[in-house]
Symmetry: C2
Subunit: 150 residues, 2 copies
Amino acid sequence: MYSIGQVAEKSGLSCYTLRYYDHEGLMPFVHRNKAGRREFSEHDLDFIDLITCLKATGMQLREIRKFVEMSMAGDETLADRLAIFKAQQESVHDQMAQLQKHLDKLNFKVRYYEAACEAGTEDAVSGNCEIPDAPITIDDAKRVKPKKVG
Amino acid sequence: MYSIGQVAEKSGLSCYTLRYYDHEGLMPFVHRNKAGRREFSEHDLDFIDLITCLKATGMQLREIRKFVEMSMAGDETLADRLAIFKAQQESVHDQMAQLQKHLDKLNFKVRYYEAACEAGTEDAVSGNCEIPDAPITIDDAKRVKPKKVG
DNA sequence: GTACCACTTAGAGCTAACTCTAAGTAAATT
DNA sequence: AATTTACTTAGAGTTAGCTCTAAGTGGTAC
């Protein structure tokens, strides 16, 4: 059994956050000792990991709460829970695709600024950021730092 | 030249958000006509796309503002701007790695709930969610829905 | 010329998710 | 026995990022 402080250490969430989550109905499964203090089991830790996973993949606390309630309700909610995870799976795929698009743009910008630094000025640099791996060219006539010759 | 309403349409941001960004110093480059209304150029649209990219990859508005200020300052900030994009590139790599880990967990959960749905109860299902592609087994003795034969 | 519409501003309100404070309790250490 | 520590609660405060309202302006359509 773990105290809230120990769970905070293990999970990376603060005690405040854990109590907040409990208050918001995300942890109805946590037991209390006779002094009223929370006692977390290994299984509870696993569930908190799962909550963290859903949270980190963009699910809002109120949605996570619904999932927790379903989990407590038992086997009649299995199909609904499967649907939730399938939807979350797809959501993460979408997020990764979006991130990849943004990364393409950032990659372009890195190449652009590398060229600009080399030339000493942005004016000498041209390229189309909409096309991934588009060529970036330096107009030698506009250089501030002269081109190093081999 | 585009009005704020047209830019809202094109960019997917609301007029409110665009004015808020302007107010927060993210768009010092936008010109005004003699009536005091904002007039956005094609180049401004490109810059707003870039702001959106930085935002979507987790950069806070105050950091984006610093970048915008550097961009306005001219060529002496080129190296700093390159550093910003390199850092953001790495940040996105980290985010994608994290997302992939979470996706592994979601993938496991989908397989887990598929098995549970097939068995009719969670009790019959076992597997270790910490190991990607870990085998999931159904204890036939604990099934609620009998196994389909043949 | 007047009605309408998109714009302008300052500033208030909202939401999600914490984050902290204050007052109090219970158990363990000195 | 007294102090320290980790916990408890309710509820207030904070932050980021919008989102909206109210009052007013300027240009176009009828």
